[in-house]
């Protein structure tokens, strides 16, 4: 969680929140072209990260031990 800057380490929820922010910002339509493209690229990258994380998720069950 400390390395949120790194793409690989970004939590799904953080990525999703960022993505939602970007989509909202883009939809306002006030950004100049260059900024739009920059945000767009970032957004698409976040989409990819989110989707990958979703698709990679797998059910696991661990048992909490040595706590009694």
């Amino acid at each position: 969680m400390q390395n949120e800057g790194k793409e690989e380490e970004m939590k799904f929820e953080t990525a999703l929140e960022k993505l939602e922010e970007i989509v909202e910002e883009l939809e306002k339509g006030e950004l100049p072209l260059e900024e739009t493209i920059k945000k767009f690229e970032e957004g698409i990258m976040l989409c990819r990260i989110c989707k990958e994380k979703l698709e990679r998720a797998e059910a696991k069950i661990e048992e909490l031990t040595d706590w009694l």
Binding site: L33, F40, K51, L54, A57, I61, W67
Partner: protein
Amino acid sequence: MLKNKIYSVWEISEQIKKAIEKEEFCNLWIEGEISNFREAIGNYFFDLKDEKAIIKCVMFSPSLPFTPKNGMKVIIKGDIRVYEKRGYYQVYVQDIKVGGIGELFMKFIELKEKLQKEGIFDEKFKRPLPKTPSKIGVVTSPNGSAIKDIQKVISRRFPVTIVLAPVRVQGEGSAEEIERAIKALNSRKDIELIIVGRGGGSWEDLWAFNDERVARAIFESRIPVISAVGHETDFTIADFVADRRAPTPSAAGEIAVPDREEMIKMIENYAMRMIKIARGKIDFYREISERIMKRRAFSYPFEIIYDKIECYKKGCENLNKAIDKFLEDKKTKIRFIEENLRAMNPYKVLERGYSICFRLRDNKLFSSVDDAEVGENIKIVVKDGEAICRMKEKKKK
């Protein structure tokens, strides 16, 4: 009520109904013994009685873990309402707790009131649940139905890691185990949500979840807690303290994680929206730049230069022509003047046989007999020389 009015049966029944069906007769717990029990089209009808009184009860679409029987000691929960068609009041039962649980039940009520006063159930303490927890701690029995249900729902909706804290969920020591499990999960850094619960059972079976230690452990939990105890109709202290009550363990699974397919669709939708916006923006600017590019300066940039060169060349040419013409004019004029001059040269006539005479004394033109005297010398100029002659006589015409 009006003393000087004659009421119809319906009118007076309506008044009684109004008088009875008030908030104070709602959600009451009543203890008694079931008698005259019968079941009709899935609904229960019975009387609840004690030594001194009897009250009619009806339970529509009951969902109980047992079927009530005559002679059963129960605590029922319900509202009292008037059934005017039959002229009696009855309890519309929502829930029935079975058995000699009067004492436990009172403990439950007491603890609930105590904790309520402390504010432990207050809405302000409810923490929001993470939207997509990556690790979920589950406090329940490793052999019960709850863990199976939770696991099934979670792996179907959004597979994540479940950390099971195996505990006993009923019997001696179960409350302490649940308490310790909640604390142990809290000491880990990776757990984002806790589900505490168990499958259905009798009132006594669920008792651990009415324990004060469990309630406080849930309250103190740093990690948000979903309670999932028994069936839809079962309410425990844990449910009141938890950040969210799930009616069943399966429902807890549904609450805990979003649906993966829906999330993927949502993200794809975000991507589509962004592509649409970016494309729109690019098209907009492309159109502008195309409009600019269509202007002559950009589409035929050299033509303008060629035009200028052409213009310059033409200018030079015109200038040269003008100069030439000017010179030509001047030449013609000079030639004309020369010719004129030549034509006017008086000596020119000498060639044709004429001569010119001058007075010798002063070289003045001799063109009249008056110009010279008799005896005076006259110079005659002819084409190839001159002759000096003396005038002999003069005759005037």
